[in-house]
Symmetry: none
Subunit: 224 residues, 2 copies
């Protein structure tokens, strides 16, 4: 399986390449958007890992360009924590998935596997659980009876829950993924947002629930 890795930060690029190669991918690393476009023109890849912030040509433009050329190669976008709107842009531009830095290798590998599995590609920009959908581009949480546009943090929490239905997500995990390792925020922001989400799910007549497991975390449970 051949992957193109476009990431300008040398240390991260090297590390990623090593991880990917240990997992039996052949990886070409490039360090700016222009190089990425050249490589994508000349070669056939099974997947692309594309940082958004890159010198010369940014990731979104690279993505848009290759899609215009009819290239349907699956693309995983890497975004820094704060570049939230970039995600939306990226999905609109035809990305298959995105990953927020910092991330761990297991997650990266899982996403790549998921992405390359169904070569069918084209952005699945909706998450679904029970009678609820979450639009990854517009941040809309909907059921038949209505919808809310979620704020950023709400969205990220809901996304994590919906990507792992039936699995427990540790409270610390929310903190790490959404607030970052160096955040000073109190642990109870998580409770606060869980509360917001439950309220909205309830108002929408959702048939999914967010369950708590004491001393552990939260889980999205779908109806049977």
């Amino acid at each position: 399986m051949r992957l193109l890795l476009a990431e300008d930060e040398a240390a991260l690029s090297k590390a990623l390449k090593a991880i990917l190669e240990r997992n039996n991918y052949s990886v070409d690393a490039v360090y700016d958007g222009q190089e990425a476009l050249e490589y994508l023109k000349s070669d056939n890849y099974d997947g692309v890992i594309l940082d958004i912030m890159m010198p010369k040509i940014d990731g979104i433009t690279v993505l848009r360009t290759i899609r215009e050329q009819g290239n349907l190669v699956p693309v995983l976008l890497l975004t820094a924590k704060s570049e939230v709107d970039d995600k939306v842009l990226g999905l609109d531009a035809g990305a298959n998935d995105y990953l927020t830095k910092p991330f761990n290798s297991r997650e990266l590998l899982a996403r790549i596997r998921a992405m390359t599995r169904t070569q069918t590609a084209q952005a699945d920009s909706m998450l679904r659980a029970g009678n609820v959908t979450l639009n990854l581009a517009t941040y809309e949480l909907s059921t038949a009876s209505g919808s809310y546009r979620l704020a950023n943090k709400e969205f990220q929490m809901m996304e994590m829950l919906m990507r792992n239905p039936g699995n427990l997500i540790a409270t610390e995990r929310f903190m790490e993924k959404i607030w970052g390792y160096d955040s000073e925020a109190e642990i109870n922001v998580v409770w606060v947002y869980i509360s917001y989400l439950r309220k909205k799910l309830n108002a929408l007549g959702a048939d999914v629930k967010i369950n708590v497991k004491r001393n552990a975390g939260y889980m999205l449970v779908e109806p049977k």
Copy 2:
């Protein structure tokens, strides 16, 4: 969960050990690569935190050596800021993850959790005795006729019993393992929790029983 910490800088080592122990890891600290190798030979650890720059034998060599010996214990490498290439080397040598100094405790703990999860994760997430199962992930105690989600202490007691069916567990042993040596709790909390568990086992129609042996302890007995 037992960890080996190999870090030559005394102050950092002490601090890390304290943090880890506060998070319920048992930590052995060693101060050079040679010691690390000795400890890794003689003992079983659930994870290793390995500084790269160490006296006598460096971390990468330690890592490479134990991997050659077929030891698959998860290893988290600690690298100083600039040693970028070391990361790559380290991952190639078979490290599971790495962390750049300086780092904060939340990140360290997250990495350790992630690293050790793989190994143990779905190994065996269920304990079984008679017609009863205990789900180690959800804390659910079940039979065909239903289930209870156990609270923390209840769960720990039940786990100890189910890991030693037919063996006597001293009341004092419960105290040591679950409440800790420095607990102020009275001995009769054990009786109280035994009582809770019996009630639930009974309500579930379990065919196992918790027997008492006077002046000794308790034993889970399975039907013949």
